[in-house]
Every structure is written in C-alpha cells, then in structure tokens.
C-alpha cells in the first residue's frame, strides 16, 4: 500500500520549487539516518544546519518519507544517504527532489563494500557499512569534501572539524581492537536477528549467523531457523543477540529452544534514541562491542 502511495508524493514534491544553493548562510543538510546525521553535525559544526529524517528506532530499510519530509528534502542544499540500497526508496527520491548531485549516497563511494550471496538472487551488497570504522573514516572525508564543494568559503572549518572527529574515531578503533583481542577465535560467532554486522565481522574475524537476511524485510523460513538451532548446539555458541529495530519474537523462540542466553540488544541499523547510552556513534560502537565481548567470553 505504501509502495503505491510513495510515487505520488514524490511527483508532488517534484512540482514545487526548490532553492538554488548559494554560498550564503549555513549549509542546509538533510540526512537519511542517525549515523549520517552524526557525521554531518561533527563535520559541519556551527556552519551547517542538519535535519535527520530517519529517527532512532525507525527501520531505515522500510522508512517512507511523508509529504512534510519531502518538503524538507526539496529545501536542502545537500542530502546524505547511506546508499548500497539500504534505502530501497532512494532512486525514486533522487528522481523527484532534483539534480542527482544534491543527493550523496555515501556508501556507494566506499573502498570496502562486502557482498553476501542473497537468497536465490545472486550477490547482494551489504549496506551496513558504518560497522567498519575504516569505512567511517573514509565517509567523514567524503562528507567533508562534499561540504567544501557546496560552501567553498567554509572549507577550512569543515577540514578542521573532520580532522578532530577522525582523531576520535582512530582512538575508538584502537580501543575496539584491544577489547576484541580477549576473545579466542573459536568464540567469535555472532548470532543476530538480521545480517547487519558483516563489516564488523570482516574487520575482527567473526562469523555471522543471522535469522533474517541483509534487510529486516527478508523473511526467515522454518528450515533456516532449524539449521541455526542445530548450529548453536553443535558449535556450543554462548549467546544470541537481539537488535534494537527488529521483531523480538524470533529471537525469543531461538533462546527458548537452545537454552542459550540473550547476549544483549545490539544497535544494527543506526544509533539509539537519547538516553539509551548509544546515542552517538562512539557510544553505539562501544555498547555493541562490550555486549558482544561480554556475552561471548563468559564461561
């Protein structure tokens, strides 16, 4: 039903006028996700106005912009999207809100892009790129370059902000390496709701066993769940992880069946809401790593 409605909204938006970006005033940035919003705020500082449309807790795979959102998008100087088909609605959005170069799909330009053989339909790109800190570092630079292009006069401020933020991300990276080093390689098995931690697994040598596929929309089938139960028993996996934006019922059944404990709730598709202890990228990453290492290193 939503799929039918959306093109009409986009068409509506395309008819209304949008402002031509100039070099005056703060840069108006609209982001389609919490991680992107943080990058934009950190790099832009006081020289950018950042509006994030996809709030914490909203599933970015299935988000559907409202007419008011479309208005915000049309008025923006720059739109940041995750890309790699995380936003299934992005192509229609780009077609309606104006020139392609106002919409930057950050993920599409990254050096490290993983692919997973999708169910039936060949390889599918994994859109959860921010779970690799190296990708984050690259994305910060990319956003800095885009900002500088849109507001050349502020380029130095953006460069200084980006440098500072990258320094903090480097520190986070060192901390994560030290934390994960505690886990022996045979303990590095991650059972999660949907396949969102491929980049984390790639960087730190984990294997991923997900109930659903890359998108929260893909359905699990009974045989797959049965296989997962067998695997948990055979490999003596200690814990299963729930996700902040996924249906908790399947995980609950998996715990029931195998008797393993819930390792905690991971933030898979973005940052947490204010007060969750995962409202910044660094806090989110620390939360996930502490939950994973804590649950898997236990006796």
């Amino acid at each position: 039903m939503k799929a039918i409605l959306a093109p009409a909204l986009f068409a509506l938006a395309a008819c209304s006028a949008w402002a031509v970006p100039g070099d005056a005033g703060p840069l108006r940035v609209v982001t389609l996700g919490t991680v992107l919003a943080e990058i934009a705020v950190q790099v832009g500082g006081s020289d950018a106005e950042v509006v994030n449309l996809v709030q914490p807790g909203v599933d970015p795979h299935t988000f559907n912009p409202s007419p008011a959102d479309i208005r915000t998008l049309v008025d923006a100087d720059l739109v940041l999207a995750s890309g790699l088909r995380l936003e299934g609605y992005l192509d229609r959005l780009v077609a309606s809100v104006g020139p392609r170069d106002r919409v930057v799909a950050v993920g599409d330009a990254l050096p490290l892009v993983l692919s997973t053989p999708g169910p039936g339909a060949g390889a599918e790109k994994d859109p959860h790129w921010w779970h690799s800190i190296d990708n984050m570092l690259f994305a910060v630079d990319l956003v800095r370059a885009e900002f500088a292009r849109a507001r050349p006069g502020h380029a130095e401020v953006f460069a200084r902000n980006a440098r500072e933020y990258r320094r903090r991300l480097e520190a986070l990276k060192a901390w994560v390496s030290a934390e994960v080093a505690v886990l022996p390689p045979d303990r590095r098995q991650l059972v999660t709701s949907h396949d969102a931690f491929g980049y984390f697994a790639h960087d730190y040598g984990f294997s991923i066993h997900a109930i659903n596929g890359l998108s929260t929309e893909s359905e699990a089938d009974a045989r797959h769940l049965a296989g997962l139960i067998d695997l948990i028993r055979r490999e003596r996996i200690h814990a299963v992880f729930a996700e902040s934006s996924a249906n908790p019922r399947l995980v609950a059944n998996l715990l029931d069946e195998t008797g393993v404990r819930l390792g905690g709730t991971l933030y898979a598709d973005g940052l947490g809401p204010p007060g969750s202890g995962a409202e910044t990228y660094e806090a989110m990453y620390r939360h996930n790593v502490l939950a994973i290492v804590g649950a898997l290193s236990g006796p």
């Binding site: 409605l5 699990a220 089938d221 009974a222 797959h224 019922r249 399947l250 059944n253």
Partner: protein
C-alpha cells in the same frame, strides 16, 4: 530423504511443534465455525471482519508492544466494534447489513493502514497480514487453546440451537429461540478465532483455515453433523500437511496451509460425485 526426515525431523524443534499445535487447535475450532459461516452465507462477512482487526492490533502494538494479551484485546475490540456498528446501522437506518459491514470494515482497515504508516513502530506489516509460524510464543499457544476450547464447548452445549438457527431460523424464533443473540455469538466467536489465528496464519489468511475445510465438506456431506466432522478433519489434515510443506519448501506457513486446503476445495468442487461440477455436467443439470 527418508520418511523420518520428511515427517518427524521437522517436529524435533520446539518452534515447529508450537506452530503445528497452534494450527491444529485453530483447525478444530475453525472447522466447526466455518460450517456455520458457509451455511448461513456469512463467508464474506468473515473476510470483512478479518480486515477490520487491523487498527486494533496496530494501536495495541503501539501502546503495549508485542504482548499477546494486548494484541488479542486490540483485535477483539476492533472486530466487535465493526460487527456491532454495522448491526446498529442496519437496524437504525435504511442501509442493509451487507452494505453497512462492507463500508465499516474498509474504514477500519484504512484506519489500520494509516496507523501503521504514521507510527515509528517496528511493526512488520507482512508478519501479521500473512503470519509467521516461527514466531508462535507460549502465550499465543495458550490463547489458541482457550479460544479453541471455548468454540468447541459452545458447539457442544448449544448444538440444537445452532442447528435450528442455521437451517430454520424462522422456526427457531417461533419456538422461543433468540436469533439475534445467536448471530452476534457467531460473529464474536469468529473474531476470537481470527485474533487467535493471527500469529500463525496472519489475519488475511486465517479465514482460509475456517472457510476452505467447511466448503469442501459441504460438497461431500448432506448431514450437518457429518459436515462438521469432515470439516474439522480436513482442517487438521491441511494444517499438518501445510506446515510440513512450509518447512521443506521454505514457504510462509499461512500461505502453505491455505494452498493445501485450496487444493482440497478445488478437487472437491470438481470431483465430488453428487455436488461436484463434473458430475453436474455429466448429468446435464448445470444451473
């Protein structure tokens, strides 16, 4: 693949046993209820009712999360409001009940879709339109048990009233039976069963578990009691085979059950010797 792998191995998993048990429980009550819906020509009304549950379930999900009890009461309230509302409209205005029902249920369904699109919930629409047998919880199962027991008890206790009201409502009322009450009772039972079947079958497909065995049985039986028994039997068979098919073929459970029952229905409609299409063509008495 050995017979053990085919039939037994899937049920070594707790979640498969739960899904099967819930389908069996609802097959019993659905098979009974479906017969009355078919004979009283309420089949389409049942369909309308199932759609009208959506806003109740969506609002309950928003307020109380995935709690089975909350979803149950949310759906129940929405369904009963639709049934009672259209009964009121048809009695107090010139609009007939079918038009009142048809209009109200689509308003309710629209409200449900609006709620879901508006709220930042994690509600997966597909899951409760089409069900997900993998997510059946212990409380879902207890709910199915209660509803199924209730339905079976009502049929046993009120068998005579149901029989009379179904085949000769005029006589039933003349002898002091209260037809309006029985009618509302059926609609309430239908809503109860639909809500209980939501997790396994999904609200759109749940009605298939009720109607398809009943229409198939109607094509074979002439006595009410044998139609009831055959209908329950077919519902059970369809549930077991459907769940096995969904496991081995990796299909959605509700759809697999409905397709198995649909196969039985189409075969019955074609080949039933006395009431089937081929028999009628051979005898030359097609209407």
């Amino acid at each position: 693949m050995s017979l053990h792998d085919l039939l037994i191995a899937p049920f070594t998993y707790e979640f498969m046993r739960r899904g099967l048990l819930s389908a069996i429980l609802l097959g019993v009550s659905g098979g009974l209820l479906g017969c009355v819906l078919v004979l009283r020509r309420l089949a389409l009304m049942g369909d309308a009712l199932s759609h009208s549950l959506l806003p109740g379930v969506a609002a309950a999900w928003l307020l109380f999360g995935t709690s089975t009890v909350a979803l149950f009461f949310g759906g129940l309230i929405a369904g009963l409001l639709t049934a009672l509302g259209s009964a009121m409209i048809s009695r107090l205005t010139r609009v007939k009940e079918d038009a009142a029902f048809g209009s109200l249920f689509i308003v309710f369904f629209g409200a449900g879709v609006a709620l879901i699109s508006k709220l930042p919930t994690r509600l997966n629409l597909a899951d409760f339109l089409f069900g997900n047998v993998l997510g059946v919880s212990g409380s879902d199962l207890r709910l199915a048990l209660a509803v199924s027991g209730c339905t079976a008890a009502v049929f046993i206790i009120f068998y005579r009233s149901i029989l009379l009201e179904t085949f000769d409502p005029v006589f039933h009322r003349a002898t002091g039976g209260r037809g309006g009450l029985v009618h509302m009772g059926f609609l309430t039972l239908t809503v109860l069963n639909l809500v209980a079947a939501m997790q396994t079958m999904g609200i759109v497909l749940a009605l298939g578990l009720f109607l398809l065995p009943a229409v198939s049985a109607y094509l074979w039986c002439d006595r009410f009691i044998s139609m009831l028994l055959l209908s329950v039997g077919l519902a059970l068979l369809g549930s077991v085979v459907g769940i096995l098919v969904s496991f081995h073929a990796g299909l959605a459970s509700g759809a697999a059950i409905v397709l198995c029952l649909g196969f039985v229905f189409i075969a019955s409609a074609l080949f039933s010797p006395r009431h089937g299409a081929l028999g009628a063509l051979r005898r030359g008495d097609a209407r």
